[in-house]
């Protein structure tokens, strides 16, 4: 376990935000941490949808149950978060 800061680029937000997470967190847990600082603060909620995450510039989202430590991301890398049907 290790503290792991990421830069959150949440779809609809206007600013990159520093989000502290943990290498053992799953992508769903990381997405929830990012949402805490954007959804309902600067971005409207979209009930019923899930939040997916991908590396900045990538087309492929990370699997939701993947551990952060296994993504290949480096500390302070920017992760794109967005609402999705599934």
């Amino acid at each position: 376990m290790a503290l792991f800061p990421i830069s959150s680029k949440f779809d609809g937000d206007f600013v990159l935000k520093l989000v502290p997470v943990d290498t053992e967190n799953t992508i769903d847990e990381v997405a929830a941490a990012a949402a805490e600082h954007s959804v309902g603060i600067h971005v409207p909620d979209q009930p019923g949808k899930v939040i997916r995450a991908r590396a900045q510039g990538s087309n492929q989202p990370f699997p939701r149950d993947m551990r952060l430590a296994d993504t290949g991301l480096e500390p302070t890398d920017t992760v794109e978060f967005y609402f999705s049907e599934a």
């Binding site: 309902g40 600067h42 480096e74």
Partner: protein
């Protein structure tokens, strides 16, 4: 006593030059201080300042300027502007004085370095007056806000800001240290006098002067007009140097200096001028939008002065023109959202009428930045106070030191670079390009997030960060300038029709 006519002696006096015999020319004018490598020695004496003045004339005119500004202040002190003016206007005063006053003393040091180190005798002469100008600007812009300190401690930042680690101060210091304090005489004059003063001080000092008069603040209007009349003179210090570089085969170097300085100046002025002009100036007295001021003073006039010299628009011109519609709106959302980190009370500037104005000036604003404000306004209107201030920090650019912002859903992007094993983040590809021009210059600096993650800020939370920035120490941080009265119009819309 009869006086010789100025023209009879000026050129001779100005070009009186040192002839070193005990030391070398490089010891007298060390290249790292004087600059101008590749310029033949005989060229320096041809430096011809476009604005000539004698010391006697200078003192006489400056005395009149001071008398004018101080007498207006004295006459209007009983008007109680502080309590009568719109709160958004008072915030502009707090932001301006704190961001500018101490920097003027830095500019006096800058000019004094020209007085000693410039190889051009004409420039040394002219810079002497520039140095005295900047001392006056420092003094007058500390004296004028002083009358407000007993009413409002946030005005104490006029003197304190540049000694703090407030994030705006980190950005301003990084910028002014880069363009004004750490380059040789030739480069400094092009970066600071030509690009910054010729281009951008007009924006703040002339643009805001009209708004000040309209807002009834004749003291501030007179003050900044008085200052700008000096700037218009000593800003011309850099132009002959640019001509020398161009005429001596250094066009690429001259263009590079302009390209770096122009972008750095522009980005800082989105905070200093952009936000106040489009959000803080009361709607009924607003003269023009920030974009319109930029188009008049920068896009038209400043670019003409570049092209007249034979240089080109910066390579990122298309990016810059798009940015005029975007960046300062994002910075306003950021400064307002993180308002406890400010030394002034930001006006939201997004009442229904103000949003109409923004949409007119910046078509599409409601569908982009306006959507973020919709979420924030809903929180204010429904009393969800805990949702109105983010619980984390924004990512910050390693060049501009400003939050990395963009148009929602369109242009928010992290530009990164790994240099010697360290990852740097930039708010634009231009900021990244600036870093790449001189990594040795920029690589050691730690931005606010580097300091936070590196353990320099303790406790590592919002409270610790505020204390690190001087908030709660020098004064309390920012709150909404109008105590959220503008939200009432939105609350009424929530009341169901009976």
């Amino acid at each position: 006593m009869a006086l010789l006519d100025r023209s009879a002696w000026y050129d001779l006096a100005r070009t009186t030059e040192w002839t070193p015999t005990y030391i070398t020319a490089d010891e007298l004018f060390p290249p790292e201080m004087s600059g101008g490598e590749g310029i033949p020695d005989e060229v320096w004496a041809t430096y011809d300042e476009p604005y000539k003045v004698t010391y006697r004339e200078y003192v006489d005119v400056q005395r009149q300027k001071d008398a004018g500004a101080y007498s207006v202040k004295a006459a209007l002190e009983r008007n109680d502007l502080y309590n009568k003016a719109d709160a958004g206007w008072i915030s502009i005063l707090k932001e301006h004085y704190a961001a500018v006053a101490l920097v003027e003393y830095g500019a006096a040091l800058q000019e004094s370095r020209f007085v000693r180190w410039s190889k051009a005798p004409g420039m040394r002469n002219m810079a002497t007056f520039g140095m005295l100008d900047e001392m006056r600007h420092g003094q007058i812009q500390l004296f004028f806000p002083h009358e407000y300190i007993n009413k409002d401690r946030q005005f104490d930042w006029s003197h304190q800001t540049m000694w703090t680690n407030n994030w705006v101060a980190l950005g301003a210091r990084h910028y002014f240290d880069d363009i004004m304090m750490t380059r040789d005489a030739v480069e400094t004059s092009i970066y600071a006098n030509f690009a910054f003063e010729t281009g951008f001080t007009n924006l703040q000092f002339i643009g805001l002067s009209g708004d000040a008069a309209n807002a009834g603040d004749f003291t501030f209007s007179k003050l900044i007009q008085s200052i700008q009349s000096d700037e218009a003179r000593h800003a011309q210090l850099g132009t002959p140097l640019l001509q020398m570089l161009i005429e001596n085969g250094q066009v690429a170097k001259a263009q590079n200096h302009i390209d770096v300085s122009f972008w750095r100046s522009y980005r800082l002025f989105t905070i200093l001028s952009g936000i106040p002009m489009d959000y803080y100036v009361p709607l009924d007295v607003r003269e023009s939008s920030f974009k319109e001021f930029m188009q008049e003073w920068i896009v038209t006039q400043f670019i003409k002065s570049i092209e007249d010299l034979g240089l080109k628009k910066p390579w990122y011109w298309d990016i810059f023109m798009r940015d005029l519609d975007e960046h300062h709106h994002g910075q306003h959302l950021g400064t307002y959202s993180w308002r406890p980190t400010l030394w002034w009370n930001p006006a939201a500037g997004v009442s229904p009428e103000e949003r109409d104005w923004l949409e007119e000036k910046y078509p599409g604003w409601n569908d982009t930045f306006g959507k973020v404000w919709d979420v924030m306004i809903d929180n204010f209107a429904t009393g969800r106070d805990e949702k109105t201030i983010p619980g984390t920090l924004p990512m910050v650019c390693n060049v501009s030191q400003l939050p990395i912002v963009g148009t929602p859903g369109r242009s928010l992007h992290d530009n990164t670079l790994v240099h010697e094993g360290r990852k740097y983040h930039f708010a634009s590809e231009v900021d990244k390009w600036i870093f790449e021009q001189d990594p040795e210059r920029y690589k050691h600096h730690k931005n606010l997030i580097d300091r936070f993650l590196g353990g320099d800020i303790q406790p590592a939370n919002l409270e610790g960060t505020l204390e690190y920035m001087g908030l709660g120490t020098i004064s309390e941080g920012g709150v909404d300038a109008h105590n959220y009265l503008w939200v009432d119009a939105y609350k009424k819309r929530l009341v169901p029709a009976s």
